[in-house]
């Protein structure tokens, strides 16, 4: 049995770790690319959302490496993602791939069923203690990954060479992927911290009093905000434009709430979002629609300069969120931009919109600094 799984940003590091510590053969599919998307789009229903298309592409590419079992999480909706496993199984079967699809969820609410599925994946040799230990370690790694990501978010606008920061990010990810001890994980995070600090000290002496960077909060559908390929590298792009980015959902926060059912909060808990969203949307709408609204409110209250919402075309929960967000924009006078991505999204188009958006955010700030202007003229919502 060779297990594979769909990509979602850095999730592969965590999933690979989990299976490797259980001595299960795991195939990490090639990273998301144009090819992946093309392969997946051919098989997918045309109006399916982008993640499904990328998932299918991942499976096809993993099949070339000999994978025969797919692991995916589920859920009982009402977001479409909950039904991915079954639809993907049928599509792959028709296309001639004999994949076994294991959906990690309690089937019809039965925990025994879930245990059976985990047992099927882990094989007979692993004891439950070992499985739990492996899960805990993978979780720790996901928290560490999120810390590194957050550090990089802060470093991008502040360090002088964008390429250097990206290189640092890559090697940090590599370090985290390879290490199999808790100490190694901690060391990797510390190493990133130290390196950034050193670089910054070198910089500060050179150009003192550099501007405080703009802060933009990214909210939206989890796959598109976690996966740089589907969002056309929006975080990196914004970093290069001198913006500090934060996002509503981090991998470990999702793992904590979705898989551990809130036993572990993750690096950034998503628990507070429903409370923030309440005045605008008092009921969950599936997926992360409620979290999107809540996070937008939270970012606005924390004084962020702007908010960007990203979601795949036809995403149901995010459409609901998108129709509520104008109210948030009006209430808090914060510009919110919505980006919708699908298989036709082009890099240049997104880049242009981001540049224009950042210009828009920067202008009132520059004006305020230089001369006293008619304040409010440039404010949003009149």
């Amino acid at each position: 049995m060779k297990v594979t799984f769909p990509h979602m940003g850095n999730a592969w590091i965590v999933i690979q770790t989990l299976f490797e510590s259980l001595n299960v053969d795991v195939v990490v599919p090639p990273f998301n690319s144009k090819r992946t998307l093309n392969l997946g789009t051919k098989l997918s229903p045309e109006s399916a959302c982008l993640p499904l298309k990328l998932n299918l592409g991942n499976y096809l590419e993993a099949a070339n490496a000999g994978a025969d079992t797919i692991v995916i999480t589920g859920g009982i909706g009402p977001c479409r993602f909950g039904y991915y496993g079954e639809v993907e199984r049928q599509i792959l079967w028709d296309a001639g791939y004999n994949y076994e699809v294991v959906t990690l969820e309690p089937p019809d609410g039965s925990l025994a069923g879930l245990a059976k599925r985990i047992r099927f994946l882990a094989g007979r040799k692993n004891s439950w203690a070992k499985i739990l230990k492996a899960m805990r370690f993978a979780y720790l790694k996901s928290v560490a990954l999120d810390r590194v990501e957050d550090l990089i978010h802060a470093a991008r606008p502040r360090l002088s060479h964008p390429l250097y920061t990206e290189k640092l990010y890559e090697s940090a990810k590599q370090r985290l992927a390879q290490t199999m001890t808790e100490k190694g994980v901690q060391d990797a995070v510390r190493w990133v911290q130290e390196t950034i600090r050193e670089r910054q000290e070198g910089l500060n002496s050179m150009n003192e009093g550099s501007n405080k960077p703009l802060r933009i909060g990214i909210v939206g559908e989890i796959y598109t905000i976690l996966d740089p390929f589907s969002s056309v590298g929006i975080e990196e792009e914004l970093g290069r434009l001198g913006v500090e980015v934060d996002r509503s959902i981090y991998l470990s926060g999702w793992v904590g709430s979705h898989i551990f059912r809130g036993i572990a909060p993750g690096y950034r808990s998503i628990r507070s979002y429903p409370r923030h969203a309440k005045p605008f949307l008092p009921h969950f709408v599936g997926g992360h629609g409620l979290e999107t609204v809540g996070a937008a409110v939270k970012f606005a209250r924390e004084g962020y300069d702007g908010i960007i919402q990203i979601f795949p075309l036809s995403c149901m929960p995010e459409i609901v969120a998108a129709s509520v967000l104008p109210k948030v924009q009006e209430t808090y006078k914060i510009p919110i931009m919505t980006l919708i991505v699908d298989e036709h999204t082009g890099h240049a188009g997104i880049q242009t919109r981001l540049e224009a958006y950042v210009d828009l955010l920067e202008r009132p700030r520059l004006l305020r600094e230089s001369i006293q202007t008619r304040e409010g003229v440039l404010g949003v919502g009149g």
Binding site: S47, A48, I76, P78, Y83, L313, S314, V320, S323
Partner: protein, 371 residues
């Protein structure tokens, strides 16, 4: 007190319940007129661009409600255990507040049958409180609503016509004021049931009766109730189809039959409409008497993007002619008619030539070679 009920989305499934509920409370329920061009245009202006046609229509109907004290926009989370409705239903009314005319109060209630009857009743009591009704009244109204809904659903046989059925309900709901004035020996309810059963027994309606002609094609129309019965948005597809063929609808398939036809899925579908669509679609695909299946969907429908795929697979396995019609606000009638005619012609020809079908698609999937 007059409460406005937009003729869109949940109207097509749950109107009888609400009609019964408010009738029992002695509140007049006003529905918006049938969709026409202006309603659609108003809806397009006010609803968010990304959302689907039915929601845009709902936005239009909200604006078409005149002279009412409240606009009623319930949040229908779930209509049975283990399923949800579409996420966009869950976002009502917040996502449509932009369409509500300024100053018009919105009345809402959360209906979540997943949590059980007790919770639903509790939420309805909250609604009653807002309307100044006590909980015994609400309980009675609730039972009344359930009964109306059940009666309505029981009439949904093969020869059933949505418009006739719903018209009876609307008439019964409107009878309120008249029955107040003149206490008639026959209660509104008996009137309604009498009318409904008579329509159900009647061999279907005014349509040209060619039923004796056994050669008539039999086409199954599969899709959401709010598309199939929304005759303005679907360009009268149902009537056009009925002129040429016998039509089976998903809505005519009863719950038990749906349940027995859910086989072949490793995971239960968790959307109530989709479950019905898939179960009925599966039944139609296997039914040898059905000549073809038309799947009616709208652009951007999330649940259909998945379920359409599943149903099309079933149809292909059974070598059943299958066509998908996707609606949006730009649908043109000529295009639809052309496709419909071509589809029906193809089926007729297939009948004549039996197995001699075009070889196209032979290698599309595993089953095609087994013809």
């Amino acid at each position: 007190m007059r409460i406005g009920f937009p003729r869109a989305l949940y109207y097509f499934d749950h109107f009888p319940f609400w009609a019964g509920f408010f009738h029992s409370l002695g509140i007049e329920l006003v529905t918006s007129p049938a969709t026409h061009r202006q309603i659609m245009e108003q809806g397009l202006k006010k609803a968010s661009d990304e959302t689907c046609l039915p929601l845009k229509l709902l936005a239009g109907h909200i604006q078409a409600l005149k002279d009412v004290d409240w606009i009623f926009l319930p949040r229908i989370v779930s209509v049975e255990t283990d399923t949800y409705t579409c996420p966009k239903f869950l976002g009502i009314p917040e996502s449509l507040l932009t369409a509500v005319p300024q100053g018009m109060p919105v009345l809402t209630v959360t209906m979540n049958w997943r949590m059980g009857r007790r919770q639903v009743l509790k939420d309805l009591e909250g609604l009653g409180l807002k309307l100044g009704k006590g909980s015994p009244d609400v309980r009675m109204a609730f039972n009344e609503g359930i009964e109306w809904q059940k009666r309505y659903q029981d009439t949904m046989g093969a020869g059933w016509n949505f418009e006739d059925g719903i018209r009876e309900i609307e008439r019964a709901a409107k009878d309120l004021r008249e029955s107040d004035k003149v206490p008639t020996p026959v209660t509104w309810k008996e009137q309604m049931f009498a009318k409904m059963s008579s329509t159900a027994l009647k061999p279907t309606d005014e349509l040209p009766i060619v039923d004796q002609n056994e050669d008539r094609l039999r086409i199954a129309l599969v899709g959401h109730s709010y598309l199939i019965h929304e005759s303005y948005a679907n360009l009268n597809l149902l009537r056009k189809l009925r002129e040429k063929a016998k039509v089976d609808l998903v809505q005519n398939v009863n719950q038990e039959e749906v349940e027995t036809n859910l086989s072949g899925l490793r995971k239960k579908l968790f959307w109530s409409h989709s479950k019905q669509i898939f179960g009925a679609g599966n039944k139609f695909a296997e039914d040898q008497r059905v000549d073809g299946i038309i799947y009616l969907t709208c652009f951007g429908c999330g649940t259909d993007s998945m379920v359409q795929e599943l149903v099309s697979r079933r149809a292909r396995e059974q070598h059943k002619p299958y066509m998908v019609v996707t609606l949006d606000e730009h649908s043109g009638e000529a295009g639809l008619v052309t496709r419909l005619e071509a589809f029906l012609d193809m089926i007729e020809r297939r009948r004549g030539h039996e197995g001699y079908v075009s070889t196209y698609g032979e290698c599309l999937d595993r089953d095609s070679n087994a013809l």
